[in-house]
């Protein structure tokens, strides 16, 4: 896949982040951005010819293992960020009874 196509996935995530009114959908959009970044980095390390970076006796050449190792970090950090965001979302629901951005902002106006 072309690296430019993977950036389209990132843009879809940006669009969802800008237009979604539900907090949970915003968290999903962040996850979509993260998957686009992961696809982009895996594409950058993909040189021809190359096999998976696990060698045996018949291996001729491998793809670059460094982006793959970096992306493990991204996946772990992305999962922790998602967990934190969802837990904050639960707290917001307990506080306001809704997970809609506009509703929460309106109630903030009433209070102040």
């Amino acid at each position: 896949m072309n690296p430019i196509l993977t950036f389209l996935v990132v843009l879809i995530g940006f669009y969802g982040l800008s237009t979604s009114t539900n907090i949970i959908k915003s968290v999903f959009s962040v996850t979509i951005i993260e998957s686009g970044v992961i696809l982009l980095f895996l594409n950058l390390g993909n040189f021809e010819p190359g096999s998976i970076p696990i060698i045996n006796d018949e291996t001729v050449m491998i793809v670059d293992p460094l982006p793959q190792a970096l992306m493990i970090t991204t996946i772990v950090i992305g999962s922790t960020v998602t967990a934190m965001a969802l837990m904050l979302c639960i707290k917001v629901f307990h506080q306001y009874g809704t997970v809609e951005w506009k509703e929460i902002l309106r109630r903030e106006d009433i209070k102040s």
Binding site: P3, I4, F7, L8, L11, F14, Y15, S18, T19, L44, G45, F47, G50, I52, P53, I54, I55, N56, T59, M61, I62, V63, D64, P65, L66, Q68, A69, I72, T73, I75, V76, I77, S79, T80, V81, A83, M84, L86, M87, L88, I90, K91, H94
Partner: protein
């Protein structure tokens, strides 16, 4: 009447905002496409040639992702595991129930879980646990490693909650064990300053055979897998207690 007019004006505003947003995203896409044209000068394939020629001799791992994670860039991996610990602390801190609450009951409804799911979970659960352990231990020979295998083991433990919803778990004990395991990872990574003279690398000498170096890789993979599975288990239990 009045409300419909206001809503229609609001939709006009929102449509114009959508068009502006799409235009901004297209500008971003153009900038990215232009920047990708000069990628050949920024990033080349010398790195993979270096790894292909030297990585097995230097680290003793056939999986080069593992050799980067556990040898070349072990400093990064330590903080990666530390970020998981920090996230676990944050999730528990935000969660309503605090850590001191012992033996919390969980909010899975026994009567809403399908019987078919529970029955097959009982069959699949030991297989998942074994598969997770296999991936953790064989991380230097085949695809996998501590982080991935730990996630699989944590998923198997999550299924255990569906099998037995009345299970009682002491979260404070799990978090304490996780902290101790994280300290053990740092200690195992720092032994190399005594034997090799540098921090955060394999503690066997460089010219040792690959089988000997594999002991270090398996040890660190098992510790990291243990820590990751405990951390994800804690996050799961925090969500299970909170969701109602």
């Amino acid at each position: 009447m009045n409300t419909s007019a206001s809503s229609s004006s609001r939709t006009v505003v929102s449509v114009s905002r959508r068009i502006l947003l799409v235009a901004m995203l297209l500008v971003l896409f153009g900038v990215f496409t232009v920047s990708m044209l000069e990628l050949e000068e920024l990033y080349n394939d010398y790195g993979r040639q270096y790894f292909f020629e030297n990585a097995f001799d230097e680290t003793g791992s056939r999986n080069f992702v593992t050799s980067i994670l556990l040898d070349y860039r072990l400093f990064d991996s330590l903080f990666e595991a530390g970020i998981l610990l920090i996230a676990v602390s944050g999730v528990i801190w935000i969660s309503k129930h605090d850590v001191e609450e012992k033996n919390a009951r969980f909010m899975i409804d026994k009567y809403k879980t399908p019987d078919l799911f529970v029955t097959f979970s009982r069959l699949v659960y030991p297989l998942m646990l074994t598969f997770g352990f296999y991936i953790v231990i064989n991380g230097h020979l085949s695809p996998g490693g501590g982080f991935q295998g730990g996630a699989i083991v944590a998923t198997a433990i999550l299924i255990l909650y569906y099998i037995n919803p009345d299970k009682e778990t002491n979260i404070g004990f799990i978090v304490t064990v996780e902290k101790v395991v994280y300290l053990l990872i740092i200690v195992a990574a720092s032994v190399s300053i005594v034997t090799r003279g540098t921090f955060f690398t394999n503690f066997f000498p460089v010219d040792a055979p690959a089988d000997l170096k594999a002991i270090y890789l398996v040890l660190l993979n098992v510790l990291i897998g243990f820590k990751v599975s405990l951390g994800l288990w804690t996050i799961f239990t925090a969500f299970l207690k909170e969701g109602r």
